[in-house]
């Protein structure tokens, strides 16, 4: 069984839940930028949550399934057709042999996930099949003509639901943040500024981070912070004061102070922000 990439859309990669345990060796975690969407897609087709699927960016992809397969599409909601017939998001879909899945462009949100029962079985690197856009570990981004092997469905759980309820990403999400670890590097009003006016998502955003434009966050001290470990969701502030929210491919260490960290439950919302969107932050 395999999946043929007829068209990957603007940017598509293989993603699972990433490489854990190697950050001290300079290896980013990587993995699905919106892990909630990938794990849902896997559950819908009876896979373990960490199986590898495809992460699409702004949809626009065409995939062909060589053999009959159960598939599911989650994340940023896109118009779908399977063998020419309209199909729904967040539901197990039966793809007959040779069926083509066409994924349109999402009206909202950025990243859409396609899971196949059995999971994508490309060769793992450091125990993960994820493409790491920062370090280059894992398979290269998908290109038209790629053929991705699918693992055997044997031993998988049954497919138990017809559809999962889902909400499209909110128009202007409010991301909850926990101050620190370096909020003391900023002027006393910086956290209020961050949690006040909305920020706009810059076109230079990617899987490493969401780059924002808005009120500049000023430092209260000079000098440089020694390099230190970073987490996903960290809001790092370079000298220009414009914050960056780290996503899955963030560098494992960094030297700009982190004013606050986005709550894990809100990280999927950050991963679905697209250039031009606005976002707000609040302390919680």
């Amino acid at each position: 069984m395999s999946v043929e990439v007829l068209s990957p859309g603007p940017y598509a990669t293989v993603q699972d839940l990433g490489r854990t345990g190697y950050a001290h060796l300079g290896v980013p975690r990587s993995g699905a930028a919106d892990p909630r969407a990938l794990t849902l897609a896997n559950r819908l087709v009876g896979n373990p949550e960490g199986h590898a699927g495809i992460e699409l960016t702004l949809g626009g992809a065409r995939l062909r399934f060589a053999a009959p397969a159960w598939i599911a599409v989650t994340g940023a909601p896109c118009p779908l057709t399977l063998s020419g017939r309209a199909a729904g998001m967040c539901a197990p879909l039966w793809a007959p042999a040779g069926a083509e899945l066409r994924v349109g462009v999402p009206a909202r949100g950025l990243r859409t996930y396609v899971a196949v029962r059995g999971g994508l079985a490309v060769a793992p690197v450091l125990a993960s099949r994820s493409t790491d856009s920062l370090s280059g570990l894992g398979p290269p981004p998908l290109r038209a003509g790629d053929v991705l092997p699918v693992g055997p469905p044997g031993g998988l759980g049954p497919i138990v639901v017809d559809a999962a309820p889902y909400a499209p990403p909110p128009e202007r999400p409010a991301l909850r943040v926990i101050p620190g670890p370096r909020d003391d590097w900023f002027t006393p009003d910086a956290l209020d500024l961050l949690c006040g006016a909305p920020y706009e998502v810059s076109p230079h955003s990617n899987r490493v981070g969401v780059r924002l434009r808005g009120p500049a966050l000023a430092r209260s001290r000079g000098g440089e912070l020694p390099s230190e470990g970073m987490v996903a969701g960290a809001i790092q502030v370079p000298p220009d004061g414009q914050p960056i929210v780290f996503l899955a491919d963030h560098p494992p260490t960094g030297g700009y102070p982190v004013i606050a960290v986005v709550r894990a439950a809100d990280l999927p919302l950050a991963a679905q922000l697209r250039p031009g969107d606005t976002v707000t932050f609040r302390r919680a």
């Binding site: 001290h24 370090s135 020694p226 230190e228 960290a234 560098p251 960290v261 709550r263």
Partner: protein, 217 residues
């Protein structure tokens, strides 16, 4: 957010819901805490990331109160010991270098030392891998002879080959894979410092001692 610290207690900051950042104050203490944590592996800990003055501990499944208390005790032990340097038990890696780097002459000119003196001093000191970053397997090696400190290139190279041996500021490094880079190249080694098929994949890890030596032709 810093923990309310008692007199002499080590500051521990929250880094989101699932991680704590321990201030060790220095690299040697970071390495000692890293070693204690790797030996003990408190429940729920998935990443331990030492830095020059901190150790980040990621523990999505941990009881935060219990973990903070345990980190506090271990950090106190790691920072109380005043002796400098790394335990002699840390592994020593000898790196054979062919000193044919494109920047060797520039480093000699910038430092006012001749190329042979640059090589002699580079091979004359023992380095310690401080922490990794920039790229998988890229270790910032501390312990460079202060006379060999030179600034990065004004314009980074678009491609530095794997195995390049380079210096910048107070650090030395061996490029683990071909990548862009702004450090000054002294030479190259055939020793592989990064191999995704090996376990662990990085030869130079935090605390590893390193000596460079002229390769035998």
């Amino acid at each position: 957010m810093t923990t309310p610290a008692g007199e002499g207690a080590v500051p521990i900051h929250r880094a989101g819901e699932h991680a704590l950042l321990v201030e060790t104050g220095g690299l040697a203490a970071s390495h000692r805490l890293d070693a204690l944590l790797r030996a003990e592996r408190p429940p729920g800990v998935t990443e331990i990331v030492p830095g020059p003055a901190t150790v980040l501990v990621v523990a999505p499944g941990a009881d935060p109160v219990g973990l903070r208390a345990r980190l506090s005790a271990l950090a106190a032990a790691a920072t109380a010991r005043q002796e400098a340097g790394t335990a002699a038990a840390a592994p020593l890696v000898r790196v054979p270098v062919t000193f044919d780097g494109a920047d060797l002459a520039d480093v000699a000119a910038l430092t006012g030392l001749g190329p042979q003196e640059v090589i002699a001093r580079f091979c004359g000191s023992e380095f310690v891998a401080g922490w990794l970053g920039f790229a998988p397997g890229f270790a910032y090696l501390t312990g460079l002879d202060p006379a060999l400190r030179v600034p990065r290139l004004d314009t980074p190279r678009t491609c530095v080959p794997a195995g390049a041996v380079a210096v910048a500021g107070p650090y030395a490094a061996v490029y683990p894979a071909a990548s862009p880079g702004g450090w000054r190249l002294l030479g190259h080694t055939t020793l592989r410092v990064w191999d995704t098929g090996a376990d662990p994949p990085a030869l130079l890890r935090p605390g590893t001692r390193v000596r460079f030596e002229a390769a035998v032709p």
